[in-house]
């Protein structure tokens, strides 16, 4: 597993110590640690706390609030399926079932090859191209079962 390098930790420490309120950097630090470690592991949470100079419980308190900080391992890419109202109108429920069947997993699970984790998400602000989903940070709209199959092929 990738780790934050010593150099990077030093850089981040310097950055945080330049701040009047180090706590304000916690969300940025959690994002960076998550990108490096894949998810916010205990080890990553400890690294963040150490860099920011706050107790680990403070990091935990935030991490468990935000839905985009993962305290458990996820696949290489997380598929976020919008399940809010406009996507629901456009048939999101069937597409969710299609995705589950194609990936062979339920919501919250990761495919056996470690490629994808499937999660619901609130409105992605892509209602004009509903139904929509994010794969990693890439947005896909106007989804159909066929298009989902192509996207999975491409993103895997």
């Amino acid at each position: 597993m990738a780790m934050l390098s010593e150099d990077r930790i030093k850089e981040l420490r310097e950055y945080v110590s330049s701040l009047e309120h180090p706590e304000e950097a916690l969300v940025d630090l959690m994002h960076e640690a998550q990108e490096t470690y894949g998810y916010l592991s205990d080890e990553a949470a400890e690294a963040v706390a150490e860099i920011a100079g706050v107790p680990v419980i403070k990091v935990e308190e935030l991490a468990t609030f935000y839905n985009l900080i993962f305290r458990r391992p996820v696949g290489r890419k997380v598929i976020f399926v919008c399940d809010s109202i406009s996507c629901w109108v456009m048939g999101m429920e069937n597409l969710f079932e299609h995705l589950k069947a194609r990936l062979g997993i339920d919501i919250g699970q990761t495919t056996t090859d470690g490629a994808f984790t499937l999660l619901p998400i609130c409105c992605l602000g892509a209602c004009h191209v509903a139904p929509a989903m994010l794969v990693g940070d890439k947005l896909y709209g106007n989804l159909t079962p066929e298009r989902i199959d192509e996207i999975l092929e491409k993103e895997r």
């Binding site: 309120h21 609030f65 109202i85 940070d137």
Partner: protein, 422 residues
């Protein structure tokens, strides 16, 4: 002929560069504002009649005039770009297509409220928009629009883009300030109001991204001239309206404020797709009460939509077609609100799952008729007793369903199944 303001640089289909933005009159509003006194800038915004575009519709100029500009020390201006209201996609377009407009608006707003530091608080999923803003901030810094002594005016302002990490509650202004301070995004009790004690307990003004994007145009045109752009006497300026659902041409349109809902759906949205008919709509997000066909002539503005028992909200309309079961639509809505409740207050945290459960029972055909009273009473209790405005927004559409679709709801109970499923 209607001249678009907010959307005039959208044709690039990518973020307009600083050069492109300036070629279309960009940063002229800032130049003009810096030659005015902050009080005159506030007066122009008051004259314009601009009301908060995040959904609540609070008069922007009045909000600014409430900011404590006297006490010594730092003041803040925050742009709320945490767009997460289901059905809403207007701020995404603004930031992805014309990020400088938001930045210029923030600079003028900061000047008016004497804020030396500005934040743009954006949801993490809006990666493209965040990148566009970050690039634009660098460009604007390079051109001397951000930083010390801006354009020789003596006014200084720094701007940061904060990428959040999810959760609807972050869009509530006091919760947003907690989030920015590195705390859990729970709402704060008011008073103290952000105008005197907000971010870092300092005077803070916070506005939606579309609201601040309107400001450069108001300064350039003059408040009173901007106001006359509306579609009717009582309105002000232009507004971004969105439309989604089974219409022929879903999308985002900048139109005179107060354009009738019917025109948004039929003319701009292209009307219903073939084979579908209009059943109802949410006029401005998941927290706005349902509107039925008999009220489609309503001008889309805050007071006019309130008068017919709904709210304009964000102005992004979600259309329900004749295949949508209204109970299932509300189940979907409550799934969202139940999951996104921040957990701070009991009526919201524990009450919304209860409402969700009753809706599920109705849909499944196992509810008894008297549960409708229980549902209504619980919505009322949640509405009146929750800590912030989000729980009222969660139950308002459900209450509108009980008012407007009583027959359809009761049919579920009488038939012991969903009448929409054959």
């Amino acid at each position: 002929m209607f001249q678009p303001l907010l959307t005039k640089n959208f044709h690039y289909g990518r973020p307009a560069s600083l050069k492109e933005y300036e070629a279309a009159g960009g940063y002229e509003g800032l130049r003009a504002a810096l030659k005015m006194t902050p009080d005159d800038v506030i007066k122009a915004v008051i004259d314009s009649g601009l009301r908060g575009r995040g959904g609540a519709g609070f008069p922007t100029g009045r909000k600014w005039s409430l900011t404590d500009r006297k006490s010594p020390g730092q003041r803040y201006f925050i742009v709320n770009a945490d767009e997460m209201e289901p059905g809403t996609f207007k701020d995404r377009f603004l930031m992805e297509r014309d990020p400088h407009q938001v930045i210029e608006g923030l600079l003028i707003s900061g000047y008016a409220t004497d804020a030396g530091k500005g934040y743009i608080f954006i949801r993490y999923e809006y990666t493209e928009a965040a990148r566009a803003l970050e690039t634009a901030v660098q460009e604007a810094k390079g051109a001397g629009f951000i930083g010390k002594n801006i354009l020789g005016s003596g006014f200084s302002m720094e701007i940061s883009v904060h990428r959040s990490a999810g959760r609807y509650e972050c869009g509530e202004e006091t919760a947003l300030m907690n989030a920015l301070e590195g705390k859990r995004a729970n709402p704060r009790s008011k008073p103290p109001y952000p105008a005197s004690k907000g971010f870092r307990m300092r005077p803070t003004t916070i506005n939606n991204a579309e609201t601040v994007a309107d400001v450069p145009h108001i300064i350039k045109m003059g408040g009173s001239a901007w106001k006359t752009l509306a579609a009717y006497e009582g309105g002000a300026g232009t507004k971004l309206y969105g439309i989604s659902g089974r219409v022929k041409n879903p999308g985002l349109f900048e139109l005179p404020t107060g354009t009738p809902l019917k025109e948004i759906i039929e003319t701009h949205g292209g009307g219903m797709q073939d084979g579908y008919s209009f059943k109802a709509c949410l006029p401005g997000g998941a927290s706005t009460p349902i509107i039925t066909p008999n009220n489609l002539n309503v001008p889309m503005d805050f007071d006019t939509v309130s008068k017919i028992g709904s709210r304009m909200g964000t102005g992004c309309v979600t259309v329900f077609d004749d295949t949508c079961c209204i109970v299932r639509a509300m189940i979907n809505n409550l799934l969202f609100f139940t999951r996104e409740s921040c957990g701070w207050c009991t009526p919201c945290r524990d009450g919304l799952p209860f409402v969700y459960d009753i809706l599920q029972r109705i849909e499944a055909g196992v509810a008894e008729m008297d549960e409708l009273n229980v549902l209504d009473e619980n919505c009322e209790t949640i509405y009146s007793n929750s800590f912030c405005a989000f729980a009222p927004g969660a139950v308002d559409p459900v209450r509108s369903m009980l008012r407007l679709f009583k027959d359809e709801v009761e049919e579920h109970i009488k038939l012991k199944r969903c009448p929409c499923l054959n």
